[in-house]
């Protein structure tokens, strides 16, 4: 169910458990090439990114290699057209679209769909 609001502000929303969840009403808070963390209703966390062309991504904030909730603080990059973030702790890279770890086939984190409403 989507609630219709008549506000004109921009909203960044993640698709979580069957619904769009607004996480940020000021996209300028997210420096292109960097991320921010968002708290989800079930207590888990998402890492939300924007790339230089204004495309948005979101994956789980937990770094599966260390257990710390820090992926949002990693450096973003792209390789062969795939946007990724490198974990700030031990530097493994994760595909921002799928959550797949690019340095260890067997590891992946959850990825979320993102949309920006203006």
């Amino acid at each position: 169910m989507t609630v219709l609001t008549l506000e004109t502000t921009t909203q960044v929303e993640l698709y979580v458990d069957g619904d769009w969840l607004p996480v940020c009403d000021d996209p300028s808070r997210v420096t292109p090439g960097r991320g921010v963390a968002a708290l989800l209703p079930d207590g888990s966390q998402a890492a939300v990114f924007q790339d230089r062309s204004g495309r948005w991504y979101a994956i789980d904030n937990h770094d599966p290699f260390t257990g710390a909730a820090v992926l949002s603080r990693g450096l973003m990059g792209s390789a062969d057209g795939t946007a990724f973030v490198a974990s700030p702790l031990l530097k493994q890279r994760f595909d921002l679209t799928t959550g797949q770890c690019l340095d260890d086939e067997g590891v992946s984190v959850r990825a979320y769909a993102v949309r920006v409403l203006t």
């Binding site: 708290l39 207590g43 937990h62 257990g67 990693g74 450096l75 973003m76 792209s78 590891v107 984190v109």
Partner: protein
């Protein structure tokens, strides 16, 4: 070679069964003959060795070893959830539970093992588990949701793995081992003691020399406690039995095939049973050498031997025995054992190195002729990758040197280059060094992933991957393959070349640089984690000269900085940060000490005197950083740049002011130098020290630039390094006056910043650049390139443009806005950052394993 299609039936689709199918396919048999697989488990073969990684977020699909495409392509019939129940050898039929009966020409048994559960009363109670299949893990995970304590019966390899998993699920975990030490099969008493200590330190409770007598249950039949052989009772909500495995040979027994005294289907060197139509491979087989192998590598070898025999390949191999080397993967403690670990060979000698404080224990078993027979490594198994392949040979250096830790005595790191071609690098897949080299030279592999695909090396337990990488690089370089010298996938230039471009063209934007000078395919993209901080650092070093903003977090520059610089603090393992205010020269007033004490007390931070003559406060949350710094800046502190690739500290000794030997005011000089170069971004961190006389109490000769007082002035030393590869600094110039000293350091640092590679300390840079120290002296003392005026100019600009990053941050609400835990809940502290007490302060609370802390009720990551 037979021509009429046969029917081959495989019973058991486990790891070895799957490998057997692959080998049949490689021999072309699978396409020609009918292959039927009876699989007991509800899913096709998966990676049992990596089973525990399920708790680290790997899904059952991730663990799968077999895909529908492979089975389809080779026409293999797979019957899931339908175990074989009877074999009729007279009629050559096998009947499955569903009633399906297949007539075979060849029958292959690969039924693996079952976990042995000691016959203690109550062993079948609710809350008792074994640890073998994905289904077992799902059940354990489910039950653990309502449990707080768990006990594992068995302190062997698998028991420790299971204990790690329970601990990772948030349970108070106990290990009960009957033998007097942990991992009794692999390690000896010394190794067991080191292991015991490490595991206890991780928060598990270990009971060795203790048997399990009974499982105590509640009225409803669920586990409440264990009764131990020492008479005590251990309260627990669940029990996982991991007391060894037994071969699943019942099918064979029932149809009259021979089995060993302690189980296992008797086979010959081709893995054939007494019935020529029937083979047995993997953990269910009793190999020709009279042993049952509980490891996957020998099973794989059997699979290959049996497949070759069935394919009637002329080069049929033979399975005559295998290596029992193991490396524990998961528990966060390095344990490895290889070869004759217990020293059972006659006339052998042990070389032991033990450091019980550090929890390390290393033992090598050396034969009468000096050959390496085996060993045990606990706490530091770094050498496993090279030692195991050397087993059976006389190592090129003495055994003591192989076990001593780096830094003690004569440390020798024996690289894989020293290994012979026959050395087995990957024992999971039995891949030799020669094969790996061949993958590079003959099959033109140019990267580790390609070599993995080509040879299968490194795709098992993963313990050989590091050595594999070293071999691949060495081979590529030896082959004259042009190893791309470019900085990364985005830039074909070296760091030095990029520096020249940035300086000459006054480029102050990373995107501009990437789009105009990056590799074709990288232009327009987002760069990568290597070039972004490198270019960020170049732009920051040259900021005043480029007319760029000197504040490293403004505009686009914010996106370039490594995490530490991005938050102007050092990220710690649990996601909290440490804070290091600058204390120039190590000199500090009592008032300032009190402020640090108050701040640390008020925010509950762990406080430590660093090795760099200053004070580090650990455990700050992101959103606390501005609050803490507001107090520190108020009291006159500035950023200490502990996070930056920039000047760290200039240490000092007390010098002539107080010391009876001192000949110059070393403290004043150290403060002057620290204030001059603070904030200077460079290829790697910069450290310095000033000693008041030749006694060198400040250890200046271990610094990037070190100064030692003489009665006539100062001697300048450069290129020193502590760290992993210590290097004494070289004397660059003698008896300098204050101005002369500073001018020379200005030039030296700017020349280094201009020409060094990314993350190259002055020590490695000095050794690498052509002409070495003499060249540097020519350039910065004699001005042979005529650039000294430029270098000095650049430094003057840096000094003039310096601002304290934390003061600038606090002055600007926009800049402060990034220091929040969550964009949608800025005030809510990150719930995963937790601490526990330790020696009257705090330390991070970490799960034992490097596991994702998953909320037990949800399945957030799956």
């Amino acid at each position: 070679m037979s021509t009429t299609p046969r029917t081959i039936v495989l019973v058991g689709h486990g790891m070895v069964g799957q490998r057997f199918l692959e080998a049949l396919a490689e021999h072309g048999v699978a396409g020609r003959d009918r292959v039927v697989v009876l699989c007991e488990e509800p899913r096709p073969a998966y990676d049992r060795v990596q089973l525990t990684s399920y708790f680290a977020g790997r899904t059952p699909e991730d663990l799968s070893l077999s895909d529908a495409e492979f089975l389809d392509r080779h026409g293999i019939e797979l019957h899931l959830g339908d175990p074989a129940e009877t074999i009729d050898r007279e009629r050559s039929t096998v009947t499955a539970r569903s009633g399906l009966t297949v007539t075979y020409d060849t029958l292959v048994l690969a039924t693996g093992s079952y976990p042995f559960v000691p016959p203690v009363p109550g062993k079948d109670a609710e809350g008792c588990f074994v640890y073998r299949t994905i289904e077992d893990l799902l059940a354990i995970e489910e039950y653990a949701k309502n449990a707080t304590t768990g006990a594992v019966v068995g302190g062997g390899l698998l028991g420790l793995e299971a204990a790690g998993a329970l601990k990772g699920l948030g349970l108070n975990t106990h290990i009960v081992e009957f033998a007097p030490r942990l991992m009794p099969v692999q390690v000896d008493d010394g190794g067991g003691a080191a292991l015991h200590r490490t595991i206890t330190d991780m928060g598990l409770t270990v009971h060795t020399g203790t048997g399990t007598q009974q499982i105590v249950t509640a009225e409803n039949g669920s586990v409440t406690a264990m009764q131990l052989s020492d008479g005590s009772e251990l309260a627990t909500d669940m029990v996982v039995f991991s007391a060894g495995v037994r071969p699943r040979d019942q099918l064979a027994r029932d149809c009259g095939l021979g089995v060993g005294e302690r189980g296992g289907i008797t086979v010959d060197e081709q893995c054939r049973t007494a019935d020529p139509k029937v083979f047995a491979i993997g953990e269910c087989a009793l190999a020709a050498d009279g042993r049952v192998y509980g490891l996957v590598a020998p099973g794989y070898e059997m699979a290959q031997v049996a497949a070759a025999a069935i394919a009637e390949d002329e080069n049929t191999g033979a399975f005559t025995g295998a290596d029992m080397s193991t490396k524990l993967k998961l528990l966060g403690v390095d344990v490895a054992s290889f070869g004759d670990a217990h020293g059972t060979t006659e006339g052998c000698l042990d070389v032991v190195y033990a450091d019980s404080r550090a929890g390390t224990y290393k033992k090598l078993v050396i034969g009468a002729d000096g050959e390496l027979l085996g060993g045990v490594l606990v706490g530091d198994a770094e050498a496993y990758g090279t030692l195991r392949p050397l087993t059976g040979t006389v190592p090129p250096i003495s055994p003591e040197q192989l076990v001593l830790p780096a830094g003690a005595g004569a440390p020798v790191s024996l690289g894989p280059a020293a290994l012979p071609d026959e050395a087995v690098i990957c024992s999971c897949h039995n891949v030799t060094k020669g094969t790996i080299r061949g993958a590079v030279t003959e099959h033109s592999c140019t990267s580790v992933p390609e070599v993995k695909k080509c040879t299968k090396a490194g795709t098992g337990c993963g313990s050989c991957v590091k050595v594999l990488g070293q071999l691949v690089t060495a081979e590529l370089e030896a082959g004259g393959v042009e190893v791309d010298k470019g900085l990364c996938g985005c830039f074909a230039q070296t760091r030095q070349e990029l520096y020249e471009i940035v300086l000459a063209l006054r480029v102050s934007s990373y995107r501009e640089l990437l789009d105009a000078h990056g590799r074709e395919e990288a232009r327009g993209g987002d760069g990568c984690e290597i070039c972004k901080p490198t270019v960020g650092s170049i732009i920051a070093s040259l900021a005043p000269t480029l007319g760029a903003d000197g504040y490293v977090l403004d505009g686009e520059q914010a996106a370039l900085q490594d995490t530490n610089d991005h938050f102007l603090a050092n990220l710690q393992k649990n996601g909290s940060y440490s804070i290091v205010p600058r204390i120039p020269g190590g000199e500090i007033t009592p008032e300032k000490l009190i402020v640090i004490g108050e701040v640390a007390r008020d925010f509950g931070l762990y406080t430590k005197i660093t090795g760099g003559q200053r004070i580090d406060m650990f455990g700050a949350r992101v959103e606390q950083l501005p609050l803490i710094w507001a107090k520190l800046v108020d009291a006159g502190f500035e950023s200490g740049h502990a996070y930056g690739k920039s000047l760290r500290t200039v240490k000092s000794c007390v010098g002539e002011t107080w010391c009876r030997y001192g000949v110059q005011d070393s403290v004043r000089m150290a403060i002057d130098l620290e204030l001059r170069y603070r904030g200077l971004r460079s290829p790697h961190k910069l450290k310095s020290a000033v000693s008041g006389c030749a006694r060198e109490c400040a250890e200046a000769q271990s610094k990037d630039f070190g100064v030692i007082a003489t009665s006539n002035g100062w001697n300048l030393y450069v290129g020193g390094n502590g760290g992993a590869t210590p290097r004494h600094a070289d004397l660059l110039a003698q008896d300098l006056d204050d101005d002369g000293l500073i001018r020379l350091i200005d030039r030296f640092l700017m020349f280094y910043i201009r020409t060094a590679d990314r993350l190259e300390r002055t020590s490695t840079w000095l050794e690498r650049i052509e002409g070495g120290l003499d060249h540097v002296r020519d350039v910065v003392v004699e001005d042979s390139l005529g650039i000294c005026a430029d270098l000095e100019q650049l430094m003057t600009a840096h000094v003039a443009g310096y601002h304290d990053e934390w003061a600038s941050t606090l002055d600007d609400p926009e800049r402060l806005a990034r220091f929040v835990s969550f964009v949608n809940a800025p005030e809510v502290p990150d719930p995963t950052v937790r601490f526990v007490p330790e020696r009257n302060q705090i330390k991070p609370e970490l799960p034992l394993l490097n596991l994702t802390t998953r909320p037990l009720e949800g399945t957030a990551t799956r």
